[in-house]
Structure formats: C-alpha cells, structure tokens
C-alpha cells in the first residue's frame, strides 16, 4: 500500500523523525483505520528512498507508543486509537504548524505585534468563509 508521506530534504529534522511524525499523524488523524496493513519495512524504505534501518526505527517507536502492532509472519497493522489521544494529537499538530509559521515570520524579522496582527487578519478572512469561527 502507498502512504502519503513526503520527505522534505530542506527541513533540518532527521529523516526518521519526518517519517515518524507523518505516520503518527496519519494514524492519530484517523486516515489510517484500525487493522490497516502497513507496507513492509523494505517496501516503505524503497518508496521513501530511505534505509530499512530508518523505517525499522520508526515502526519500533510507534509500536512502543501502542499505535501499531507487528504480528510475526503476517505484517504490521494499525492498532486501535482512543478518542482522547486523537484529540490531544489534533491540538498538538495545530500548535506545531503555527510554530512553523511563527518561525518563518521571525526569520523575516517580523515583530511579535506584526505577527499577531497577521494572525488576526488570517483568522478574520477564514471566519468569513466558515462563518462559525470567532476571533
């Protein structure tokens, strides 16, 4: 199976970290349902152009977190995820993305006031589309 994971060569994070964050996101975000068979280590390594060592590390970490299960001889599957974990993840991911945007703004030498102003403008524009979002 093909997984929508993209490696960004320009990001400073190591490859295994990039893959792990995205795969965790696919599971906690519900895009990968409980019981889904994941690609074999070698298959994912070839498709992402990374080494089997990296993929094995990612699978081991996610297995330790209880997000995936490996059954000897049959493969690696997505485990059940509790609703609470999913909700926490949602907020964490949103905060991470915002942090990235703030990093970009700081690199452009924006002041905190300018960044906040820009954020409020974005929220205002979005709320016009979605109606329900309060600013």
């Amino acid at each position: 199976m093909w997984l929508p994971i993209r490696i960004d060569e320009q990001r400073p994070e190591p490859l295994y970290h990039q893959i792990e964050v995205q795969l965790r996101g696919l599971i906690l975000g519900g895009q990968l349902k409980e019981g889904t068979l994941l690609p074999s280590i070698r298959e994912l390594a070839v498709s992402l152009k990374c080494s089997a060592i990296t993929v094995r590390r990612v699978y081991q970490d996610l297995e330790n977190e209880g997000l995936i299960r490996t059954r000897q001889g049959t493969g690696t599957f997505v485990a059940g995820v509790e609703a609470v974990a999913r909700d926490e993840h949602r907020l964490e991911r949103a905060a991470e993305e915002l942090e990235r945007a703030v990093d970009a703004a700081l690199q452009l030498q924006c002041t905190p006031e300018e960044i906040e102003k820009a954020f409020r403008q974005v929220m205002k524009r979005k709320s016009e589309h979605w109606g329900g979002v309060s600013t």
Binding site: E9, P12, P14, L15, Y16, R42, E43, V46, S51, A52
Partner: protein
Amino acid sequence: MTATGMDYSVSLRGVKLEHERFSLGPIECGIPRGMVTAIVGPNGSGKSTLFRALLGLEPISAGQIEVLGTRLNGNRDESYKNKIGFLAENPHMHDNPFTADEKAKFASHWYPGWDWERYRKLLRHFDVEGGIKLSKMSKGMRRKAELAIAMAHDPELLMLDEPSSGLDPFAWKTMIEELQRYMEPGDRTLVLATHIMDEIKRLADYILFIYRGRVLGLYEKDQLLDDWRTIVVQSDYAQKGGMELLQRTPGFQGLAEAGPGLYRLEVNDPEQGEAYCEENGFQVLAVQRMELEDILSCLIRKEEARR
C-alpha cells in the same frame, strides 16, 4: 555476531592484494547481513577487483576474508559459492553462443538451490525471451537475462556489479522491484556497485566509499545524509580572516568562497556548525543537505590531502 553487535555476511580484515598496475588495501570492513550495501567510488577504485576477491578469484597477499562464515584463504571447500549470486560488470564472451535458457541449464547443475519456477518468473517480469542467443540480445536484454540467472537460486548473498548498465527506465524499475522482493525475507544480503545515485537512494542501507583501492568508510546512508550539510553564510563586514575562522567550525569538511563575503561551508555536525557560525558573526543564509556525490568528493579531497 561480532563484538560490536553487528552481524556480517562478508568481512575483510587487513586484506591486501597486489596487481601489476593496481594494489588494493589494506581493507578493513564488514558488509552487514540482511542489508543492502552500495559500493561507491570513481572508476578504477577497485570495486570489481573487490568482488572477484570475495569470489576467491583473486589471490590476496595479506589479511583474512570471510564470506558467509567461510574463511577464503587456503580453503578448498567452495560450497559457500553455491549461496552467492553474482552479476559481473561485463558479459562473458564464452557465453555468447548459448541462449539464456542454455546458460540457465548450466547454472542449475551448479547450484543446489536452483528454482526453474523462480527463473521463469524473473524472465517473464523482465520481459525476456529465454530461447534467444545471448549474443543476439540487446545490451539491456542480456543484462536482464543474466540477472535472472544470478537470482534464480535465491542466493543468501547477491553481488551485482553495475547491474543497471544498459537498462531502459522501465527495465530499471522492474529491477528495483525484484531486488526489493529479494530483500523482503530480511536475511538476504545485497551488495551492489553502482554510479546511479537514484539506485543508491532507493535501495541502499549502507554505503561503502572506496577510492584508489582503499576504503574511505562504511556509512549508514540516512545518517550520512542527515549529518552532512552545506551551510551558506555571509559576513556583514569585509571581515579579514573569515576563511580561517570558518575552517575551525565543528565538524568542518570543506569550504569555498561563493562571492564577496559569501561562503559555502561543508560540515557533518550541522547543529553545532550553525551555532558556531552565528556566534562568530556570520549570518546563516541557508542550510542544505548534501548530495552523495558531493560527500564523496569531500571524502576524496581529504584522502588526497592525507596521502
């Protein structure tokens, strides 16, 4: 298992080999079992000689080679060769009069693990007609036929010397698929010598750099690509001694002036390197991963400086 906890299919300890025009070694390295190792180096580095040595075809003048648990020196037991699949860089002239199927028939007598079903499947997937004479095949077609023969006994160790030479992009993709399938059980070892960077990126777990008959290092591929970065920095003022200052960057590997006050710095410890540059008054404009070929040139430059 060795003391380092790594399990090797092939190990070379202080191996030296002398030719009239070429000497190899001393080589000290191990090829990890269950993994894909790419041997990378400029033409004439000794890649093909190394393969021949592992097949017991080159007499070594010093050291110890062990392949699949068998010591090669002075050993008359050649049964370890049954567990190896090998694709040479160039086709053998003496195979020319035979069809692919005829060559396969010879091979089937030699290898106890030979599997005709596997051979036919490989030919089908590679889209090769086994009844054609090898000499009448196009270069790419013959390559595919020879690869099918090298893989048909499901060897424990598969050694491929520039496997993709002559293959079109479709055949190349099929080859990658077949090599991925070959590695699937997890206990097979693949060693390939190649110049194709995309092949290395898709398949390799480890990279063995060699140059002028010497090993420059065995690296875990992703670790190497994570660690080695180019940092582009600028100094705000016409700073004297900027080069000298940058040469002391942690993990320093290389440096070039890219313009007035603009430098391209190569490091293998990017976090420390970036921090160092900033502390010393340089503005960091970009941090980029390095391509494998650039890492190799860097290692070669250092080796040349050491000689």
